[in-house]
Structure formats: C-alpha cells, structure tokens
Symmetry: C2
Subunit: 731 residues, 2 copies
C-alpha cells in the first residue's frame, strides 16, 4: 500500500507518470547534498549586465562587494566586460570550471540556458528570474520544463522566482537585494523574498548577524527540507530560522526538521494559517497550504519551535544566537524598580517558567550588601539609587546561585542610573558566567540608547520591555525541554494483525457499491487489527438473532443495519437492554415493523445484535487526513458532547510510538478521568495506548479509510471496549 | 445589610472605628473634584533646595523649565532665594494664595508641613517624600497621621512616595524626573514611579505625547479612581492609560472606570496577576492584590481594555491617540509583497477581525490601474516595483470603499521603493479620509528610517512588523464593540423575596452551632428568594417520611441529614427511585441502620425526603467573593465533571442586569446545550436568567454566605429545578 512520493509532487502526470517515477523517485536520495553549494569557488552570472539598476548588474556588483574570493564569470553574448571583469558569451566559453550558475535571463530563455549549464557540467543553479508557476498555467509549464532539464543533468536548482542566496562565510552575495548581512550564526530560509529583504534591512539596523540566507522562491527543486537538512550539519550555523507558507513534502520536511532539531534550534514562522491567509498564500505562490492542525502537530512532533509572530521569530533567533541554552526554567530578575519587577514576575508565571528561589548564601550576601529598603528575594530590587557597582554585586550573586538557570536585568532610568557602566558590568559578568543566559530590558529611550548599543555589540539581548525577554527565555526553555523529553521510541511492529481480513471486508463493501461500513463490518475490521470491539453480529432472522444473543451473552442491543438509515432511534430501529430470547425475538420483529412503517422503501440488511457493555469512561478515537503529513490519529473525551467539549489531541500516525501516545493522552482532560477521578478506579492505560497504536496502524495501512470514528470507547480498570465504530472508505 | 466603605479602606481601626466612619465615609463625595489641581496658578515647593541634584532643587528647576506661567514659591527656612526666585520660610509666609503644595521634606517633617498647609488654606498637595507605608509598620503609622491631617483640612493629597505630576497643558512639571513629555492627548496614571519615568523617556524617543501624567505613589488619599474620573471629563485627554498593581477601592474604581469608558478608551495594564507577581507587588508597595478573576471580570463589566503587556499598552495608546475609531471590523491590507500580506491576513483572523471584501467598483478600479501580476483582492499586492503613485492609487481605492473600516499599509524595501514619498502620500490620503484608521508597517531598518520619521510626525502609527498593527486595530474594534453592545439595563428589583425567612433559617443554623446548612434548609433559603428548588423536606420518623413523600409525589429520594456525613452514599445514607409508601418506610429504617453501623457516634438530624426530578441539562450556579469587588456569581456546565471541564463564566453580582446574565450564559459551552443540542428542545432561557439574578441578589444581600453551590440545576424546556444546594455561612 505504501506510495512513494515524487520530487515533482502534484505534477507527476506531465511527463507521463511512469517516466517521472523512474526518474525522480524511490531510489533518489531524499535530501540533496548541498555542501558544494556552500563552498562555491567559481560563479557564473548568466544574464549579467552593464546597465546600472538592472538585476544582472546588481548581482555582479553584489558578488564583487561581498568579498567573494573565487572566480566570477559574467555571461552575456552582447558584452565583453562587465564591472571590470571579462564577460563570456556562454558558460561553455568560460575558461574554468563553474561551481554555481546564477540565472537572471528572461524566463523564456531559462530552459536553453539551463540545458547549456547541464552540458558544461554545472551542478548548482540559482534561478532569480520570475515568470514561472506564480504567473499561471503557462508559467507552470515552463517551470516543469526547467526542472526536467535540471533532473536530466543532475543540477540542483534554487528558485526560480527567488531573491538569491547570501552567504557570509564563503562569503558571497548572489542576490539582487541591497546590502549584505553582518556575519553571524543564524541561517534564514525564506519562502518570501520580500520578507527576506525586509528582514536583512532591519537586522542590519540592530546588528543581528547571519550565516546563510536563502530565498526559496518557487521551490521547484530545492526546498525548505533540503536547506534545513544542510544547515543541521553546517558548522557556521547555530540557529535555523524559517519563514514558510507551505512545505513542499511533509515527509521530507519532518525527517529533515526532526534531525536538525536534535542538533540546533529550528524556529519556524508558518504563515497562511488562517483561511484568509491561505487564500492570500495561494493567490501569491500557487501553494496549497496544508491544514494548520497538521502543521501544528508535525512541528510539535519534529521538535520545531513555532514562532507566533515575526517579532517572536527574531526575538528567539537573537537569544538562541547570542546566549547559551538554559539548564532549567528558574529565572532570576535584577531590577532597580518594583513595578517592572512585578511585570516580569507576571510574565514568568504566564510563560510557565519558575521564579528562582535563591539559596541561603545568596540571600545572606544580598542582605549584607544591599541597602535595607532593597528586596533581596526574587525579583531582586537594588532600588532606584543603584549604580553599576550595586547592580554588578546583585547580578553576580544570582548568577553564582545554583538555583538560578537564567537572569534578566531590568534597568529604569533614574537620576543616578548609569546605563553605560551597568552595561559594561553586565558584559563582564556574562563573560565570567558564560553558561547562563543573560538578557536585559533597558526600559527607556534616548537616555539609555548608548547602553543598549554597548550590550548589543557584546551580544547581550536588550529589550525595551520585560515581557519579550521572558517570552524568549520561555522559548529557549521549551526547546531544551523538548530535546530532553524526546523519546526516540521505536516504531511499533505488530505480528497479530490481519490486513487480508480487512481487504476482504472492504471488498464486500465495494462490491456492494457502498462506502460506509456496517457496524458489524467495522467491528470486524477493528478486530482484525487487534482492537477489542464490543461483539456485534448481523442477524437476518429472529432465530439467528436469538442464537447470536445466546452466544454473545445477555443483555444485548438490537439495531437495524442499513447504510440508508442515519438516525436509527428516530425510526424505532433500536432496542436496548434485552435480557432473554423472547425479548430478542419480539424486538427483531418490532424493529422491522417500525422501519417498514417509517421508511417503506428501505430494505435493511438485517438487525445487528450487540453485547450491551457496562458503562466505562467514554472516550473517542478518530482520525483525519492531511495532504502533506498523512493521517492524524485523534484521542479525547467521548460521548455525545465531543463536538461541544472539543477535548481532543492529535498526532501524526506515521512513526508514532507508545511514549508519544501516552503524551497525547496526557494532553487531554480525559486523562484526568482515566487516572481515576473523584475516587473512581484508574483505567487500564496500557490497553488504551495499545488501542490507539493499532488504530493508527490501521489508518496508515489503509489510505482508503477516509473517515473513522470510534465513539464511545468505554475504558475500564481492566481494559476497554470499542462500542460504536464508524468507518468510511474511498478508493 | 449594606456596608459603606471607608476612604481608609483596611485601616479604619486606628482612629477608632466610629470616628473615622463619621469623618470619611457615607456623606463624603465618592470622587474628588480635581479640576483645581489641573488648573493650578500658584505652587509652593516645600523642601526646595539650592543644592544641584537634590530633589528639592530638581523640582524647582523642572517647574521653571516646564514653562509654568503661574507663581512659584520655594519654601525653605534656611534660604532666601532658590533658582532666582525668592524663598519663604513657610507656606504661611508666601505673599499670595497657594493652589498646590509639592512636598519633599523628610518623612518625619511631613505631618507638620501638612498641618501648616491646612492652616494656610492649601487644598491640594503632592507628597514626593518616601519612607511611609512602603517601609513597614512605622511608616504606615506616619502615613495615617499625614492622611488624618489632610482629612481634617480637606486637603486632597497625591502620594506620598510618588514621582509627582506632569501636566503639558497647564503646563507644569512637579516631578523630579528628567525631561518633560511632548504635549499630547494621552493621560497616564501609574502606580509605579520608575515605570512612569521609563515610559516618559521611551515615549519621548518616539514622539508620543501626553496630556497629564500622574504618579500615584502610595495612594493614601487620591487614587486611580479619582484620576480616571477626572480624566473622563478632561477636554485635553483622548485616551486614559493606567498601570496599576491593585485598586484602592473596587466599588469606586468600577464607577469611575465605567463612566470614563463611555466617554473615551480606558486602557489598563494590571500587574501582579501571577502569584509570583502578587508577592513582588506586596513586598513592593504593601498592596494586597485582588484575585485576577475578579479584576478580569470587573474590567470587562466596566468596559476597560486590558493590555497584556507594556508593548500592547503603548501600541494601543498610540493608535487611539493618533487615529479615529473604526466603524467596524473590516480591515484592508495594501502591500508591495505577498509574504507580509499573508502574515497580516493570519493576524486578522487570529484577532477575530474580518478581511474586507471590496465592492465591484474598487475591484474594477484596481484591476484597471494595477499591473497584471498584482493582486487586486484583499490583501492588495501592488508588487515589488510599486512606487508612491501606485501605492497611493491602491490606498485611495480601498479607503473610498464603503466595505472597508480600517487600512494597514505594508512597505517592504525593494530596489524601487521610495519610503519617504510613500509616507507623504499616506499622510495626504489620511487627511482626505480622516474617518478611517490608517496604520502602517514599515518592514525594515535604516532604509526606511526617514519614512518612519515622516509618518510618526504626522501621527500615523508605524510598526516594524504587521502583527502588532493588526492587534492594535483589534483593540480599537473591541472598544467600539463593547461600547455598542453595552446594555445600560436597570438593576433588577424584586418584590417577591423574603429576607426575613432567610434570616430565620440562618438563625437556626447559628443557634445550632453549625455553618453548613442542611439540604432542606438551603432549599428553603433558595425558595425564599424565588429560586425554584426541588422539594426537600426533613423527616424524623418513617411515618413522617411517608407523609412527606405522599405530599411531594413519587418517585422520591431519601438522604440522611447530618452535617457530619460528607459522603452520604458511602455509608449507605441514600436511597433513590422510591415509588411507594412501603419502599419509603423501609428505606428510612435501612438508612438509619446503615448510618448506625458505619458511624455509630453520629446522630442524624433525620432523613431528607426529596422529589426525584426528571433529568435535564445539568448546570451549576455558584459564587466566589473578592475583597475588592464583592461577590461574583458563576454559571456553567454542571454535573460531576465541573472541575474537570471548567466551563464556567463569572460576573460581579453587584448591579447585574438580565442582559449581562444573558451574555454571561452565552460565554459558556453550556449555552450550546441550552439552545437545543443535537435535536433536543431548547431550555427555558428566561427562567434561567431569572434564577441567576435571584442567586446574585441572595449573595449580595447576605454577605455571610461564604459558599454557595447549586449543582446540578436541571434546565428543562419549561423551567428549571435547583437540585442540590449547598450553602455555608460565616458571621
């Protein structure tokens, strides 16, 4: 049943399914090897120009100005020299091997140019040119043609319709953006070129440094997964930052992000989460945004930190880039005023961090050396007349304290405050205690501007208000927690499942021209995967019903079996609590008579006889499918109020582990009930985890299951029973 | 039962309860008249000094430099001239009437100084001096002494322990803070002096203007309610901003804030919401922070906008100050890049605003005048090569559109972007269409700095990223919505309640040395207030039980009546579904035997006979009390999972209206059930609203009710029944 996924996701038909299949999938390595791209020694600019302001001119200049030490080959058949460099009529004329081609000729010429690149043995290309997928069907055709050529020659392509790549470590700037970032350790991968240019401009004004900056453009070939994967191993990159509107391929993205997140923080701003945003996203790049639930779940499972706004994205980036990871969640505050200390304390609680409680030694030292009016407990208030010395004393005391994991220093301008000296002392102490994150909020404007500059230059994050500083620490702590709690449990294997039995049942359903399974069929499917369903059998005569009831055991429930009857109770199609053969026989006949009266045109399949199970804690296990990330399994509080209470958590079914399911259950309020609420016995958690795992396996194995709802599942102290199973299939 | 509240809340005992009562409460006007304070024509600085750097010197200089046009009288017995002004030995020596005394002598001299102020007929004082309540019990004594003198002479005092007042319209700066704000229309009232100084410094750097800036200090006399009340009527103030850690008096605060919010936005940052924050707050000002639930509820009911962070507080302040109120929630975006447009669209959805849908005329105009690659639907993408003209065209088109209520312009720096010209055109169009809020996000750094300055000077809010712009619009829309949906319903009056009956029952309980009411007593209390309780009567013999059952009607429930038995079912103290006299008689005896066996030392009061009510939608009605804001009434989903599901909403009981209760019910998921869920009949909403109103009246009338829980209330299509009523009283 497993489907292999094409590199040309969504467009396998163009070149004939079979052909593209052989060419692009299966045996091809999932992630591209981008080492050479980040080590280019020679670059050709195809479409280079002498006209100032033209992109082909800007790029040549940008490469020269970036300090690129390798060879630069401008390509333009009409020129002999560009910006002082000899110009060649085509890449084949260049006197040396070319590592990278930057293409900025008009779109219609791109395929020919790429063909030539291929013949010359060029292996990497950045296509700046626009006018492809983003302009409509014709552009899409052109883009596919271009990609086909790349595939033929094994060229890995960035773009088309991108701003280019900036690399501060080679260094090289193949983009047409004005300005080149400061060298740093943040890799930024952006699906929006404009966003990238904006960010570079803004980052420069606050001195934030980058290692590699990649504009993804239309992602025809190389996409976010390839670059996340490459940046995971990049020694110059400490933090990976992404702005994406969709992912090209959910599976690769998850693989790359999971692997990367184990090595360094991966922070993603995923836009297009709203319906309005998704609409804008698709009118903008032609990308079909996946449902946000799937993204949210996938990000959590991969260990990605999701930024909720651009501000948060860059606050986090700054802190991860500048500061060490905290060892725990205990935060100390040093302030020269009470109010901001309270604001910071509130933010700590809201972010689910812990106010550090100092040890005796720290308190004694603070008590002995701070004025009597100072507050020696966290938040430490060195009060308004504190100069740099007092600040430094308090700060060192809390930095030394083993019960403190990170520190935020708040500075308000008072008559005696000396923001520059305080900044200097903060920097010294950070050097002395480099293992603890140290952030600051300089609360003011002009008065503090010099101090802010000193801190920024020394890579101490400075905020204007306390809350974003605390939120950034929370982000760092969350990353550390996720990495620590990460369970590398193995994918679960089953020896006792019977897929053939499921196929046989589905075959009957299809032969019957149905898509909804009967209750008895659904129960049999569940049983085939080792899910303990309440016994349900189909009877087609009163005698058979009695026999089934006798074999199942009383009391039983009778229910009319027909895919055409949605509300069985309303037509008198259900009888509950039947305790003997007589009641079953009468019930059978009565139901048929009721149905005949209400729905004279419906001929039921028969009557389902099911065991009336003792009541347990009502749960629901369900599913949904996402185009990008495959099936998601759902678990939550069951019963008739499911939609009202919405107490449901989700996980990607693919690769799910028992530990992950346990975490998933723990997220719900239902778990409080399962642990034994108000004196009741706790439920058998292991059996429930096993059940969810089996349900996940079932929906993974059978892509044709479009809907599955098990509601209720009754949880008992010694097991569970899946009562009402609804399965719909779509081939 | 109504208690009047002292101005000296929490400290009425000091001067003898009776005395303070007569002096300060009841007949004294709730809000202070502060008109003269904001129109002072002469000021005395008591403790003025010639020594540079001393507060008494800084204040004199600040008053002079602020451009104060009135008379300035430095007071210091040791000097004859200060900063070029004649100095007087005491206020009584000043040659003219003094409107305001600014006091900065050491704390121990403050009472004498104030006594002299009183004798001289000074009516307003700002006490800068610290060393009062905030330093401990001794300081508190001194503060009370000072307040007593103020009361004696009718002096209204700001502080002590405050930074002072800055007024840009008189103008006068009685503070010791460096710098004086730009004139503007924001009033800022701050409980933290340091915060105030920080904010002034920061605001100056971005050109944000203020009307009046008040440092509350210890709030011994004048507090946030007085100033909010005064600012409500201040013609120079368009927005009222507060930073508070607690409120002095909940009732006055609510009155003032509700009245002010009807006239202009009141935006409050309330810190000390966390336990950690409350701890910091109390170690800082000795203030006891109220529970956050009560604050949240009170703010909502008063129509206050609550800022969640300092950034949000000032983003909102800027937008309210600079821009008109939006007429609705439909937002249009004009951008020169797709990515930021998507980010903005997401933010619009998250903030529950609406993406404006343009009318045909607008779309036609955009289609005809923008390039083919542009997006003419919202967000309008004028694309990267847009210059000021194209921006202006698109902006005017959407500003003109009657389906647009507010507009956000996003600008990314591209090769051709001209941020200054775009800014100029934005300003022109804002002047042409002044009735629609117009915000901008200039996404970049140095490249855009000049444009940002131009916009800021013209009072167009500029953000670096789109999200905070959208959030600010959401704040404005929320204010407008609240003001529109505000129901000025009248306080409910009841002619059919019987407080004497309740008193009689409580008296029995107290005489019995109990605090928990029996079920039958609680039901009787509810009935006395017109709440329809399921019939419950106490029987002390099997015969009586049968007689009661016959009068109530079968089926009935028997329950042992004893305050000492908490879990009645566990000791065999409950029998349900009894259908005849025989069963009732046997049940009675059996229960007594069971109790005798399990708890031989407990002598029950008897057995409660109650009607077994048909099952309805299970609700809970409960309460909690807040020191500041009085009783809160709670409504939500009932049953045994109340604590698990936490589907409960709260309102202050005081002044509650039927409309407010309807809104309160609508906030819960329970309301979905009540409207008729999954084909069930809707519940009788009017009877439920009446019931909540009566419960609110009950807890308002009887402060001694410390706990009340009605769970479940069964809601029916034709009424309701309060089943299990628990009431605890504390005298």
């Amino acid at each position: 049943m497993e489907k292999t996924t094409s590199y040309l996701h969504n467009q396998p038909v163009l070149f004939g399914k079979k052909f593209m299949w052989d060419l692009c999938v299966g045996k091809v390595k999932a992630m591209a090897d981008l080492t050479p791209l980040f080590n280019v020694k020679s670059v050709a600019i195809i479409g280079a120009s002498n006209k100032p302001g033209k992109i082909g001119n800007v790029i040549v200049k940008n490469i020269i100005e970036s300090g690129f030490a390798g060879k630069i080959f401008p390509i333009n058949p009409k020129e002999t020299e560009i910006e002082g460099l000899p110009c060649y009529s085509s890449v084949s004329q260049a006197p040396d091997k070319i590592d990278l081609a930057v293409v900025c000729v008009p779109a219609k010429f791109c395929p020919d140019v790429m063909e030539e690149c291929g013949k010359t043995g060029i292996k990497y290309a950045v296509v700046i040119t626009a006018g492809f997928k983003e302009v409509g069907p014709e552009g899409l055709e052109l883009e596919k043609k271009l990609l086909f050529i790349c595939k033929k020659y094994g060229i890995r392509m960035v773009g088309p319709n991108c701003v280019g790549i900036m690399d501060t470590h080679i260094p090289i700037n193949t983009s047409f953006a004005a300005g080149f970032p400061v060298q740093g350790d943040i890799a930024f991968i952006s699906q929006s070129g404009a966003m990238l240019v904006s960010i570079m401009d803004w980052a420069k004004s606050i001195g934030l440094g980058f290692s590699r900056v990649i504009s993804l453009g239309n992602k025809a070939d190389l996409n976010e997964a390839d670059f996340i994967d490459a940046m995971a191993d990049d020694p110059f990159t400490k933090v990976i930052l992404c702005y994406i509107e969709d992912v090209h391929n959910g599976k690769y993205f998850l693989e790359a992000a999971s692997r990367a997140a184990r090595k360094k923080p991966v922070i993603v701003l995923k836009s297009g989460t709203s319906q309005a945003g998704a609409l804008a996203a698709s009118s903008h790049t032609g990308a079909l945004a996946g449902s946000d639930l799937a993204y949210e779940t996938a990000f959590t499972q991969a260990g990605i930190l999701r930024a909720r706004s651009m501000t948060e994205l860059f606050d986090l980036a700054t802190c991860f880039s500048y500061q060490p990871l905290p060892k725990g969640d205990r935060v100390a505050i040093v302030t020269n005023a009470g109010g901001p200390g309270i604001v910071a304390s509130d933010a700590i609680e809201e972010a689910r961090l812990t106010m550090a409680r100092f040890d005796k030694e720290t308190l004694d030292a603070l008590r002995a050396n701070l004025p009597a009016e100072a507050n020696i407990y966290n938040p430490v208030d060195v009060i308004g007349d504190a100069r740099a010395d007092r600040y430094a004393f308090a700060l060192e005391a809390v930095l030394k304290d083993p019960h403190v994991d990170s520190v935020v220093v708040l500075v308000c301008p008072t008559a005696v405050t000396d923001p520059e000296n305080i900044a200097q002392r903060i920097i010294e102490l950070h050097r002395k205690y480099p293992e603890k994150p140290l952030l600051t909020a300089y609360m003011g404007g002009m008065t503090l501007a010099k101090g802010v500059k000193i801190l920024t230059r020394a890579k101490i994050p400075v905020f204007t208000f306390p809350e974003p500083a605390i939120r950034s620490i929370a982000g760092m702590v969350n990353y550390v927690r996720r990495m620590e709690s990460r369970v590398e449990g193995e994918e679960i294997r089953y020896d006792d499942i019977n897929p053939d039995k499921v196929k046989a049942i589905f075959y009957d359903v299809i032969r019957d021209r149905r898509s909804v399974l009967l209750g008895s069929e659904a129960a049999a499917v569940a049983e085939a995967y080792g899910i303990s369903a309440a016994p349900v059998k189909l009877a087609i005569s009163p005698e058979e019903a009695v026999a089934l009831a006798e074999s199942i055991g009383y009391p039983v429930v009778l229910k009319v079996a027909s895919p055409k009857i949605m509300h069985k109770t309303d037509v008198g199609g259900v009888k509950i609590g039947l305790n003997n053969a007589e009641d079953v026989r009468n019930g059978f006949i009565e139901i048929l008579e009721n149905v005949q009266r209400y729905l004279p045109n419906v001929v039921p399949y028969g009557i389902e006889v099911s065991k009336m199970m003792p009541k347990g804690t009502e749960l629901i296990v369900g599913m949904t499918r996402d185009m990008q990330f495959g099936p998601l399994i759902a678990f939550g509080l069951g019963g008739i109020y499911v939609n009202l209470l919405k107490d449901v958590s989700f996980r990607l079914a693919k690769g799910i582990t028992h530990a992950e399911i346990a975490a998933m259950i723990a997220e719900t309020k239902a778990s409080t009930l399962l642990r034994g609420y108000r004196g009741e016995q706790p439920a058998d958690m292991m059996s429930l985890i096993d059940m969810v795992a089996r349900a996940a396996k079932l929906i993974l194995d059978f892509e044709e299951i479009s809907e599955m709802d098990i509601n209720p599942v009754f949880a008992y102290p010694d097991g569970y029973s899946a009562l009402d199973i609804k399965i719909t299939i779509e081939l």
